[in-house]
Symmetry: C2
Subunit: 200 residues, 2 copies
DNA sequence: TCGAAAAATGAATATTAATTCATGAATAAC
DNA sequence: GTTATTCATGAATTAATATTCATTTTTCGA
């Protein structure tokens, strides 16, 4: 009755990954709605129909793309935070990792920035990432407040958004400059700004 | 030969504005691509064909919407900055104004956040806003550095993105919480964070 | 080497929605 | 009050493209 998607392979299949990457490139270039199945198929070097052996539909391709990338990135961020001992250290590692991952995968960076809306599933997926990230930050900030390296009069909910917003802003600028400069080198100055502020 | 769009009225016409506002609501709810001409027309209480008397096409509606809002908001921001005398004051006024305007027009806030890409025209429009805003910030920061209220060792290009990113982050969070709390009240704590940083 | 099962193909189909335009209503000019 | 001009309508047209599926190709075990 239902289609036989090549099942076991999901993870291994060359073709599945080929399609996913091609989709990433095409979505990043044209945006989800203007990208066509035929473009993705052509980019992956397969027939249009083949995409439907591996994915339910166009939405599903984006969904799986984001899902996959999210997991990879989040694991790395988690590991990065673990490497730090005190709050300041952890924050520094997190920001560096964040910038590094996005710099190394511009398609992902563009898609995360742009395709946040519309597909309900994807919207909530992205909210989840955001939430995970903000939770990481919460922990760091609270630890910092205990250690005394972060002011105790601050509202964690605001601080974490302040930090995330600034990183995203820096990434957005980098994307719109077509990734022509080194993003990772902004990590330290950025962290310095969080910590010390701009006051003379 | 060519259509007669109701010309003189462009600015005055009830209908033009009605359509523009309806479009704002529909775009904000469904996103540009999922929104249909029929929905917008229905919302505005006119026939589908009527939209084409006032706008070239669907893209044009979004273009005009953003264009209009941009001008309004930018003028207000400009005026807000003028009200301050020193850099810190100006920054405070700017951020307050920014949050106020977006709080008062959630549709606009959503659209500015989401429809940044795809339509070439609109992309560059949004870049222009961003640029104007960043230029406002540049001036403030430079003034602050001269006055001594802002550290002189900071790279203006980074500071301004840091500030814009954080405001946008705060707005994004507010939008995704469905505008259920008061956004403007975040202005002062936010400015305090810029200035003093989080360090304990 | 053969043949059954799995995988891939791409032309045909179906759907959706932007845009047009022949027609009709409202408005204004005289 | 009549006519000309502007404005509005919404059904019909058109175009685009996601998805299906009958057919072909490949794989692989016996």
């Amino acid at each position: 009755m239902q289609k036989n998607k090549p099942d076991l392979q999901k993870n291994k299949s060359e073709k599945y990954n080929k399609i996913l990457n091609s989709a990433g490139a095409v979505f990043a270039e044209y945006g989800f709605y203007k990208a066509t199945i035929s473009q993705i198929a052509a980019q992956a070097g397969v027939a249009d129909g083949t995409l439907y052996l591996y994915f339910k539909n166009k939405d599903d391709i984006l969904y799986q793309f984001i899902n996959f990338k999210t997991h990879v990135v989040f694991n790395k961020m988690h590991a990065a935070v673990e490497k730090g001992v005190n709050a300041e250290d952890k924050l520094r590692h997190l920001i560096r990792c964040h910038l590094e991952e996005f710099q190394n995968d511009k398609n992902m960076a563009i898609i995360f920035q742009s395709e946040v809306r519309y597909l309900r599933d994807i919207e909530s997926q992205i909210k989840d990432i955001s939430k995970m990230y903000l939770d990481l930050l919460s922990d760091i900030i609270e630890q910092g407040q205990i250690e005394g390296s972060i002011r105790q009069d601050l509202f964690v909910g605001l601080v974490k958004r302040f930090i995330l917003g600034a990183v995203e802003g820096v990434i957005r600028t980098w994307v719109s400059a077509d990734g022509r400069y080194d993003l990772v080198s902004m990590a330290d100055p950025l962290v310095d700004l969080y910590l010390r502020g701009v006051k003379g």
